[in-house]
Symmetry: C2
Subunit: 235 residues, 2 copies
């Protein structure tokens, strides 16, 4: 009995210079970070690699699958401290900040991450390390999942909004300071009579430091959430 298609091992050879999935992912990441999701097209990506547009399809089934790879790439950038090093509370804080800065580095993430499952290797490893961290806090078995999910959701929700704000500034072409102060003026005008609480909120704002405001925002809620979670660890 000769070996069939199934038992025969596949060999044969890519010695000539060739596209690779890793190359494609790297180039696509650069385009995505610079131009956003709408700025990434298979033709443009291929051009950047000096290849024909449809050549990519040998390495990657569809554009959506490519984006899945890119998302998992981002998950791979996130630190989750081991609990024995920092303790749970500050570990979770570090995790949150790491997640935030990864998203800020890849501002296209929010508009795509919720449209597909995250089951890539980096997503799995992230989940694993997260569970270990929150497990060390002393949550009941059941609440470990819930606690970690809450923190991830809070961070991703907050940072998604933050990214949207920063993207608006970028598109406006102005400096952050001048953008903020113009926004405040406009809000003041619109809010004047109909929305008194918003007007008060605008008026009480004193600084135009966008960065500091967004960070304070992020930290405030994360701290509050972690406080709330801390009361739930089993004694």
């Amino acid at each position: 009995m000769t070996d069939s298609i199934w038992t025969r091992e596949r060999k044969a050879a890519p010695a000539r210079e060739t596209l690779s999935r890793a190359q494609i992912v790297t180039a696509a990441m650069a385009i995505l970070d610079a131009d956003g999701v709408n700025g990434l097209s298979m033709r443009k990506l291929a051009a950047k690699l000096g290849a024909g547009a449809t050549s990519l399809y040998w390495h990657v089934p569809t554009k959506d699958d490519l984006i899945d790879l890119l998302i998992d790439e981002v998950w791979g950038e996130i630190d989750v401290p081991e609990p024995e090093l920092a303790g749970w509370r500050s570990g979770a804080l570090l995790f949150g900040h790491s997640l935030r800065s990864a998203v800020l580095r890849h501002p296209w993430l929010p508009e795509v991450m919720y449209t597909r499952p995250s089951i890539g290797p980096n997503a799995m490893s992230l989940g694993e390390r997260g569970l270990v961290l929150f497990g060390a806090a002393g949550f009941s078995d059941h609440e470990v999942d819930l606690a970690m999910g809450s923190v991830m959701s809070y961070v991703l929700g907050t940072v998604s909004a933050e990214v949207a704000t920063r993207e608006m500034v970028r598109k406006s072409g102005r400096s952050e300071d001048s953008w903020v102060s113009e926004l405040l003026e406009q809000a003041q005008a619109v809010a004047s009579d109909e929305y008194p609480a918003m007007q008060r909120s605008v008026r009480r704002r004193t600084t135009t430091d966008l960065d500091a405001g967004l960070t304070e925002n992020f930290v405030f809620g994360l701290d509050a959430l972690l406080d709330g979670l801390a009361t739930r660890v089993k004694k």
Copy 2:
């Protein structure tokens, strides 16, 4: 001096049956809810209204602007209780649930809401009522914004993930129960050795009731966050 183009008031007449922005918005909402963002095209929308595709452009500048209108429409569906009726804490809880169910009714929202500013009338009114609610809690002036932002971010983040999950179930065509149990099996297989914490997490899951799980998830984190916020109200 005769009145110029500028001072002359615009009259003249739409007596014939005519498209209207409200009509367009309604039809677009139906398509969006049913088929998602990718399912909405100007041609399809026009067909549904029995009109030519480019007729829409007289009423709406671009597709993106149309989507802005639809987003604001959703913001208009959200209840924010007045604080004297329910008190701050349960008011915030109600607000969170109302926001969640609005998003679940319009599952396309997460993929678009963060790509643009929300300054429509309903968004403004939502913000106003939110500030009133949180203002009644006794937060310092400065923290009212932060607290409300945290809750919105948490809810939107959580619900975005929830929508993604539900969408996967819908696309799979299976029942929720069978989808969940298959997911658990697969996770078990993948997680086996490399990801022990995830495996434990999977194993300890007993029910396949998706709805209950997602709701528990949502409530757990919201409760924790509100607990944390409650400690921050000024005495």
